[in-house]
Amino acid sequence: MSADKHEFVDGDLLRSIEQSGVGFRVATTVLGLTVLTAWVLFSRQILEGLGVTGLNQPVAWGFYIVNFVFFIGISHAGTLISAILRLSQAEWRRPITRMAEVITVVVLAIGAFHPVLDLGRPERALNIFTAGRLQSPLLWDVSSISAYFMASTVYLYIPMIPDIAILRDRGVRPRWLYSFLAWGWQGTPRQQAVLGRAVNIMMVLVIPIAVSVHTVISYIFAMTLQPGWHSTIFGPYFVVGAIFSGIAALLMVMIVLRRIFRLERYLKQIHFDYLSRLLLIMALLWFYFTFSEYLTAFFGHEPAEMRVFYYKVSGPYAPFFWGMVVCNFLVPVLILAFRRTRTIPGIFVASLTVVVGMWLERLNIVVPSLANPRSGLPTGYYLPSVVEWGMFAGGIATFILGFVLFARFFPLISLWEIQEGRELSVAETAARLETYLPDPPAAAPAEEASP
């Protein structure tokens, strides 16, 4: 197979891979240093103990768990959305699935590491493997997240094989890496059939896992008896929140990358339009769940629940609570409901507030319940320390670094899917035309129009 077969119009997508510039080096250095700082802080935490955080007696969980839930939530961006879009054969999905999947894999790895940060004795984390107990929701998480990680990695990788082969064939360095990863792809029909089948299996598989992951994470809280946590709708509530934050994160990533890599040709208004409508729907859905959750607590008027309720609504956490409502509901709905504001900057603002708002939601779930213990202890207080902020920054830096590195080595937009889209659309159009245009002379009706 000759390389010129791939000399196609989308060569500009490979520019960042074939000629990485100063920007890449600066970005990796800055991000790398941030990540390194986070690791230094983490080693200090290991050496001195969890006392370097702002955690304390009633508030035994803080930023690490908040960020764990938050990052894992973001990770739903990807795989779930891309799988649903693929499954529903939404043609416009083609330029965005890859980015969504990358978000998933990178963020999932970051999120999954957060419980380890939270351990008092991280060197004993292996106890989970030697002596784990399946009745603990934490173990459900371990198995569920690792399954999701595995599935989403595979789901990212398999559709990437043809693109890797393109890179391999174009002689991009490191060549051994691309040869290794291309798995001998030549684009033969048989290979394409195999790949298509595999992608289909994975996309069906990934959806229930993704749903299960955030359900199970919500169970960490819901399975306890604590006020504000012990709720049956936590599972769907978390899943909705996760998809919500995932779409917002995806939109942000798309807008940013579009700007950096000049992807205006690929990411068009319609992509943002469709996704932002989805975001709007999720915002309404999120509000519905939030409303149900808090109304139930309020109407039941159980003293312990009410203590948490008032702590959020009118107490010390009121800024965060109402900030969450504003960020997750008011701002996105107001921006996205009107065509005039549903511009790309508008969508960016809405997505940003949703990501912030969803982080606030996680904070609102984790801290207030712990800060208001049933036992008659004074109301708790939690102020994250520099270490925790540093680790948060490190997490975000890792996420961006992951993206930068990915973009350095792999195309951010699926080349072959776009190609396939083009070919399919030509075929489809031809087929459609054939249905009403006069048949060409002396030819059998075309049958290969089906996708």
Binding site: I46, E48, E123, R124, R307, T379
Partner: protein
């Protein structure tokens, strides 16, 4: 197994790799001896009985030893005082023993003002030289001794030491008990038979956490009784302490009106006939109107009560509901064996003596004297008497009463004033196990005075504020390292003697204060040596115990409490006969550490009422005589009535004439400007002076108010609301003298217009954990005196609160119940 941390870390290191090793933020200083012991592996366990010496309560302890090292303390379940219970400070005894910052050896002030190490030899030589010079110059009375050691046994020794020098300047700094002197004619406070009382009316005293023996009080009222027969408590006070929260009735009153409340109760008792007529008729003086020797009609207590202390007036004074007074009085009248006690605020004010007289009057009205469950005199401890020494020529500087107060002086103030004014110069001062610079409102004057005294010798286990101002600082062993001889604590109804050898060798280069005195006596020679003929302190103790052994009274506390009681009954009348028996008695006593005598001879009224009339005096003739004396001074020829009036006026009393000699409400003096009255209280974690050297005690210091390691200011909710302060706000408590920082704690039930601050924190002296922790409310108190006893008031200071910082951390827990309940 005791494992030094290094070893533990090594073991951890195997599992955790280098990670585990990084955790040590501070190097551990485990003594080599302990490391060695630990490496060899711990061996045998044993238990010894001893006495707690951290406060004057004298609780029995059982110390658990492993390889001879103490590893645990618990209350001695057989000890009659505490019956197994122990307060948090006593339980922290081992932390005091091993505490960081203990004085390691003798220190001497160097030229630069800093303390530097010296040796015992040099230090003792120096003191002996000074003392010799003073006695040679006939200035023995310029030696003074402030002692914080509560034991009579030690007190006797110290007195002999001073008498040998020709000085009478010995003070124990404890409460005077003047009220008992005035009404009962006894110098020593009587005991209260809490174990037999069915109702205790406590005026200001946090019975279960403050006072001389809170653990004994708890054991007697609750611990030793079945749940159906628990002693009932009525609390009259300004603050709902944990003890007060146990009260069946809690009467919240304005500060300084506790005496008035007592008189209000007395009024109701008298008006409703709920008092013990027989007792009043037989054993009291001045109840009804009476005629004196000159034929004058005098006011009786009954008329005073009925005319002046009717509930409406008292309620107005106290700021409470009149019905509450009647309710308390009726409850008191209905009780079979009630007793009234005073403490806390009631004994700290400028009207402390009258307040205590008023409370004692309730005991007289209810006939509580010499009744089971009442006010009794514990039997004396038949110690070997010591040959009398000639009395020193000059009276004690602590007893000298000027004309400003009727009977006494505040010892710290007197010492400071004498030195600073040059009226009673002191050349050498010994301060033992007490810290008046810290604990007295006259502390800063004392500090000034200490700088003027040529030689100040502090005998202390820790570098405290007083020791820091001393020239020589000589380490004393803590209670577990020393011979202890504890005598009956104040207010206990039976006699006890705790006698215990050291549990461990001193961990520091410390010497027993008794041995120090004996050694000094030896070095001085002459009369001083003759006054102290004992080779060492145990020898002295042993000689004093002989009398006890030979008396055959009481019993050594062995086995269970009940067993020892039976044993006591069996042994009654049995006499030790010879040296051998004395030896065996000594051995048993030092092993079991405690002796007690619960048998009181009833009807021995002379011991209870040593007044001229031989009765309880509602109308104190002694006070009358003194007031007349004061009024007559310099103005001969005045009639007795005029002199009395003038005497009262001289002391600034509001009461006139006969009322001044009887329990009455004398308004509390207030000093300084401010919207609130500063009232100190002593939480159970502030017992004794050494508790604060224990990290645990500091950590649980404010456990009742969620305030570890800090001083808090308790405010009533309405007061806080008026001042716009919230729970957890940081404030500055300011008096005209100074200020300190505290954290506001809002108490749902405290008297409005007061701010309650715990005593015990706010040390400045470095060297122990307590340094720089919290604040000392005594440090900002303004001088105000009880005109009778001369003691400095601790409740007279007005303060202002200034907000420093709003609450930064979480709030108080929510209240339970609410309107639905």
């Amino acid at each position: 197994m005791i494992l030094p941390r290094r070893d533990l870390l090594k073991m951890l290191g195997v599992g955790a790799g280098a990670v585990g090793l990084g955790g040590c933020r501070q190097a551990w200083s485990v003594p080599d001896r302990l490391v060695e012991l630990a490496l060899r592996g711990p061996g045998l366990e044993s238990q010894v009985q001893t006495i707690c010496g951290l406060c004057a309560g004298g609780c029995g302890l059982t110390v658990r030893l492993v390889d001879g090292l103490p590893v645990g303390i618990r209350g001695n379940p057989h000890h009659p005082l505490n019956r197994g219970g122990l307060c948090p400070v006593g339980l922290a005894g081992l932390e005091v023993l091993y505490a960081p910052g203990r004085l390691q050896g003798p220190l001497r002030r160097q030229a630069g003002g800093e303390h530097g190490a010296t040796t015992w030899e040099e230090a003792l030589d120096e003191i002996a030289t000074r003392l010799t010079a003073l006695t040679a110059a006939g200035q023995g009375d310029r030696v003074a001794f402030l002692s914080g050691e509560p034991s009579e046994l030690f007190h006797d020794l110290a007195r002999r030491f001073l008498h040998g020098l020709g000085s009478a300047n010995l003070s124990r700094l404890d409460d005077a008990g003047l009220a008992h002197e005035l009404t009962q004619g006894i110098a020593r406070a009587p005991g209260y038979d809490l174990g037999g009382a069915d109702l205790v009316v406590s005026f200001g005293l946090d019975l279960y956490e403050d006072g001389p023996t809170p653990i004994h009080a708890t054991a007697a009222m609750i611990g030793s009784r079945p749940t159906e027969q628990l002693g009932a408590l009525i609390q009259v006070g300004t603050r709902v302490s944990p003890s007060a929260s146990k009260a069946e009735i809690f009467a919240l009153v304005r500060p300084g009106t506790l005496g008035a409340f007592a008189l209000g109760i007395a009024h109701t008792l008298v008006r409703e006939g709920g008092y013990d007529r027989a007792f009043v008729a037989e054993h009291t003086f001045g109840f009804d109107d009476w005629t004196d020797e000159d034929g004058r009609e005098r006011l009786g207590f009954r008329r005073l009560l009925l005319e002046r202390y009717y509930p409406d007036r008292v309620a107005a004074l106290c700021g409470c509901d009149p019905a509450l007074i009647v309710r308390v009085a009726r409850r008191l009248a209905a009780a079979a064996a009630p007793v009234a006690v005073a403490g806390g605020d009631a004994v700290r004010g400028t009207n402390a003596t009258w307040t205590q007289m008023a409370v004692q009057a309730l005991n007289a009205l209810t006939g509580a004297f010499d009744r089971p469950g009442g006010v009794v005199m514990p039997p004396p401890i038949p110690l070997t008497p010591l040959a009398a020494l000639p009395a020193p020529p000059a009276p004690s500087l602590f007893a000298a009463a000027g004309d400003e107060t009727a009977f006494g002086v505040d010892p710290v103030e007197a010492l400071a004033a004498g030195v600073l004014d040059g009226t009673r110069p002191v050349e050498l001062l010994i301060v033992l196990d007490t810290n008046p610079v810290f604990s007295s409102p006259a502390g800063d004057r004392l500090r000034e005075a200490l700088a003027r005294i040529p030689t100040v010798v502090a005998l202390a286990s820790f570098m405290d504020e007083t020791a820091a101002a001393a020239e020589l600082v000589l380490p004393t062993p803590t209670f577990l390292e020393r011979w202890q001889g504890a005598t009956t604590p104040r207010g206990v109804a039976f006699s006890t003697l705790g006698l215990a050898p050291p549990v461990v060798e001193p961990l520091t280069d410390a010497r027993h204060p008794g041995d120090v005195l004996l050694e000094l006596g030896r070095r001085l020679g002459g009369e001083a040596a003759a006054a102290l003929p004992w080779s060492d302190y145990p020898a002295y103790l042993k000689q004093r115990i002989e009398g006890l052994a030979l008396s055959g009274q009481g019993s050594v506390v062995t086995g269970s409490f009940e067993e020892s009681w039976i044993q006591f009954l069996e042994e009654r009348g049995w006499r030790f006969l010879g040296r051998k028996e004395i030896e065996s008695f000594w051995r048993t006593l030092t092993q079991e550490s405690s002796w007690w005598n619960p048998v009181r001879s009833r009807g021995d009224w002379g011991r209870l009422f040593a007044t001229a009339s031989g009765r309880y005096e509602f109308f104190s003739r002694r006070l009358e005589a003194r007031l007349v004396e004061l009024g007559a001074a310099g103005e001969g020829g005045a009639s007795a009535a005029e002199a009395l009036a003038r005497g009262s006026a001289r002391l600034g009393l509001e009461a006139e004439g006969d009322e001044a000699c009887m329990p009455h409400h004398e308004p509390e003096a207030a000093r300084g400007e401010g919207e609130l009255t500063l009232l100190p209280f002593r939480p159970i974690t502030a017992r004794g002076s050494l508790g604060v050297t224990s990290p645990m005690v500091l950590e649980m210091f404010g456990y009742t108010a969620f305030s570890p390691w800090q001083t808090w200011a308790e405010l009533a909710a309405e007061t806080a609301h008026e001042l716009d302060l919230g729970d957890g706000d940081e404030v500055r408590v300011e008096s005209d003298r100074g200020h300190f920082a505290a954290v506001v704690r809002i108490h749902p039930a405290a008297a409005a217009g007061t701010v309650h601050v715990p005593l015990g924190l706010g040390h400045e002296a470095p060297g122990s954990l307590a340094a720089g922790i919290g604040a000392n409310p005594v440090g900002i108190m303004l001088a105000a005196r009880d005109p009778l006893s001369g003691r400095l008031s601790r409740t007279a200071t007005r303060v202002r609160l200034a907000l420093v910082k709003r609450r930064s951390r979480g709030g108080p827990p929510p209240r339970h119940g609410g309107s639905e309940a």
